[in-house]
């Protein structure tokens, strides 16, 4: 799974390259959620996401919730067209 991961100072930068759909969520969830709490700040780069569906949306919601639980400061640094459209559709501008 094309997922880039680097930690600079106290910020974990995570980039997802490819689909954010039912086909990839299981893997992504495993990779992302295990990172949770490792660094005080998490930057999520979604600019390379090619496709996103309801399962992807759910994953983002879970990441957001878990970040809150773990006290990690979550920020999304980039959104691809696909992500923007999906979020716009369900008016979840919160991320």
């Amino acid at each position: 799974m094309p997922i880039t991961h680097e930690t600079i100072d106290d910020t974990a930068h995570v980039g997802i390259d490819g689909e954010l759909t039912i086909y990839t969520v299981a893997e992504l969830a495993g990779a992302l959620l295990s990172q949770m709490g490792a660094a005080p700040r998490l930057e999520l780069d979604l600019s390379q996401v090619t496709e996103m569906d309801g399962a992807g949306l759910q994953l983002l919601a879970v990441i957001q919730r878990e970040a809150g639980v773990a006290g990690t400061a979550l920020s999304v640094t980039g959104q691809s067209q696909a992500v923007m459209q999906a979020l716009q559709l369900c008016r979840s501008a919160a991320l």
Partner: protein
């Protein structure tokens, strides 16, 4: 992809036709029992399923029309419209129209003819009488196309997706996307509170819910349809929002409690339809008829090959080998039976089709006729079933038109004013018998005889039995309409009926009692491909007699031989048994064998003895039709290949017996000769 879609469309067409037939059955059932809730449910489900699948293929004309029908059915179901004859007649016509629309799709999507469209319009108008006034205007417009006529309504849609939605290949977002095209989504709230804690969360399960405010002109039903494919997995609630300030405040709070009681049951009620369809899909596999034919052909060859193998084994004097081949042939026989059974379908479906015909024709004629069906579970070969429909239809129409008298005439004759028509099927000595009986006036024997003599079909002064006279109406050239008024056809004579049945290797005969009615009996072979044969030998040649027709075998001793040769019949335990000497019949030269045997065969009510040299026993026979060159051969119905590779001819017993019967008819005029046919 396009090929797959095409296949899916074919499946849709086949299924829609079946559903329409089921719908018709249920409508007729409803007509006889107006309180039957099951029938109403079945009709509704049929219409609903057709609409749903048609929507999948974007067949707007079908969806639009079916939607209106479904609307009326829905009202029928909740009791706001009562069942009456007019409504049933209308719904039957709607079914016909839907079939017409589906046929248009089947014939490669040409647009419906203006006449079809006009009929659709008329039906729509008629249906609108049964719709509530308010929705009548909004719903008459096909629902699949946007209902622009309706006013803007603010709908509140509450969705709770089930955990398996993702796994079932559906994406909740696509529903939102579709809703977005139906109107303006004013507000969307994504609900994620039901996502469980991390350790219990499966990223591939769906825990999403949405609260959507949609401003749209679409009707409730149209919105409801959007979720047809996910209904099993999703809790959908749709309601119109009353746009007064107080209630819009309430939207945010507990939605489920606010759902209008009238709309809530819609989803649970539709689920049974889905589950029923699923169980049905589970128990049947659709197989292409060609594949089945190929299989049966192969099994036929297998039978021949296995017969050859066991013949060889027998000549080897090798016991284990013989044992092995006999096990194989036992299994082959079972496979054969199984393969043939695959092609066997109950005749009930064909019979049930006639309910509608009887209903329509009897109304057309102004007669009250009831159709009684029995033996619907009797099975016969698919090809036979397909081809017997038309002849049966003609016979039924004839019986209704000319057999059963008008109500007045019936009362005058002291019968109940309701006419009865019965269709019955049963198995009898390797064939299936279909009886069409009416309790009408019966045939006019004198008129038929008179007409036949006029036409030169019967010599004047000939003495014929009643049955022979009645069967004259199957003769070609026995022109119907002007000939015998109480048995005229509708453009198709009885001779065509007879010819069609003969082509199926069947026979038809008729019995009638004046004032009591007429029975037409059709006798058909169960299958066209393979028969159980009985092998007999004359000189070096082998003949096959269909085993089902063989009753017994008798040795012909010297004394009997002399007398039977002179008289042409045999005294079989006091019964007169006419004999056919096959050696003479097929012009075998050379002296008769030292010992001769008689095979007693029976077909319908005729019995005769066939004189042969040797009896070889049973043999599974794959019928190979004779070439056109031999079409004129009488007494032979086909050929087969024996295990040894030799060709054996299959005797056409019905034709042979028929010859004797004719012979009897001729000789019966000469008073000195005894009757030849034992009945």
């Amino acid at each position: 992809m396009s090929i797959n879609l095409d296949q899916a469309l074919q499946t849709f067409i086949v299924e829609a036709r079946e559903l329409l037939q089921a719908m018709e059955q249920s409508l007729l059932q409803l007509e006889s029992d107006p309180g039957d809730q099951d029938a109403i449910g079945a009709i509704f489900r049929a219409a609903h399923t057709i609409k749903g699948s048609a929507g999948l293929f974007g067949l707007a004309s079908i969806v639009g029309f079916t939607h209106i029908v479904e609307d009326v059915l829905d009202r029928l179901r909740d009791g706001s419209v009562a069942v009456d004859a007019a409504l049933i007649a209308l719904l039957l016509k709607c079914g016909d129209h839907m079939l017409e629309l589906i046929d248009v799709v089947a014939s490669r999507g040409e647009t419906p003819t203006p006449a079809t469209l006009e009929r659709g319009e008329t039906l729509r108008e008629a249906l609108s009488d049964y719709q509530p006034l308010r929705t009548a205007t909004a719903d008459v417009v096909p629902a699949a196309v946007h209902d622009d006529t309706g006013a803007d309504v603010l709908w509140h849609i509450s969705l709770r997706f089930g955990v398996d939605v993702f796994r079932n290949g559906m994406d909740p977002l696509s529903f939102l996307r579709y809703l977005d095209t139906l109107g303006q989504m004013v507000q969307v709230t994504t609900l994620t509170d039901s996502i469980p804690a991390l350790e219990h969360w499966d990223p591939e399960s769906c825990y999403l819910g949405f609260e959507i405010d949609l401003r749209s002109t679409a009707s409730h039903a149209t919105l409801n349809e959007v979720f047809d494919f996910v209904r099993d997995d999703c809790d959908v609630r749709i309601r119109a929002v009353d746009e007064t300030p107080e209630s819009s405040v309430a939207i945010g709070s507990d939605l489920i409690a606010q759902v209008e009681p009238g709309l809530a049951p819609a989803s649970p009620q539709r689920q049974p339809a889905n589950s029923e369809a699923k169980t049905r899909d589970g128990s049947y596999v659709r197989v292409n008829a060609d594949k089945l034919d190929e299989l049966i052909n192969l099994v036929g060859e297998l039978v021949i090959a296995s017969a050859g193998a066991s013949l060889l084994a027998r000549s080897c004097n090798n016991d284990p080998l013989q044992e092995a081949t006999s096990t194989v042939s036992g299994l082959v026989e079972e496979i054969l039976d199984g393969a043939l059974h695959l092609r066997m379908i109950p005749i009930g479906d064909t019979f049930n089709r006639f309910r509608r015909v009887v209903r329509d024709v009897s109304q057309e004629l102004g007669k009250d006729i009831e159709l009684i069906i029995s033996g619907a579970e009797t099975e016969l070969d698919k090809t036979v079933v397909e081809k017997i429909g038309d002849p049966l239809m003609h016979l039924l129409r004839n019986a209704m038109d000319h057999g059963i008298e008008s109500a007045d005439a019936r009362r005058a004759a002291g019968k109940s004013s309701k006419g009865h028509l019965s269709l019955n099927a049963y198995h009898d000595s390797g064939s299936i018998v279909i009886e069409i009986a009416d309790d009408g006036a019966g045939l006019n024997r004198d008129r038929i005889l008179e007409k036949a003599q006029e036409r030169g079909l019967v010599a004047s002064g000939a003495v014929l039995t009643d049955q022979e006279v009645y069967n004259l109406i199957f003769e070609a050239g026995f022109s119907t309409a002007e000939a015998v008024t109480n048995l005229s056809g509708r453009g198709v004579g009885m001779d065509v009926v007879k010819r069609n049945i003969t082509l199926l290797r069947g026979t038809v005969d008729l019995d009638s009692r004046p004032g009591q009615g007429t029975v037409v009996r059709i006798r058909l072979p169960l299958t066209l491909a393979i028969i159980n044969g009985f092998l007999v030998g004359i000189d070096q040649s082998t003949y096959v007699i269909p085993l089902d027709m063989v009753q017994e075998c008798v040795e012909l001793d010297e004394r009997q031989r002399q007398s039977s040769r002179d008289q042409g019949y045999l005294d079989l335990r006091g019964e007169v048994l006419p004999l056919v000497d096959l050696r003479d019949h097929f012009s075998h030269e050379g002296p008769a064998a030292r010992r001769q045997n008689v095979v007693v065969v029976r077909y319908a009510e005729h019995k005769a003895g066939l004189v042969v040299d040797d009896l070889h026993g049973e043999f599974q026979t794959v019928i190979k039709p004779l070439g056109k060159l031999f079409g004129a051969l009488r007494g032979i119905s086909g050929s087969t290949i024996l295990g040894s590779g030799a060709v054996a001819l299959i005797l056409d017993v019905p034709a042979l017996l028929n010859q004797i019967v004719q012979l009897e008819a001729r000789t019966a005029q000469a008073p000195q000769s005894p009757p030849l046919v034992a009945r």
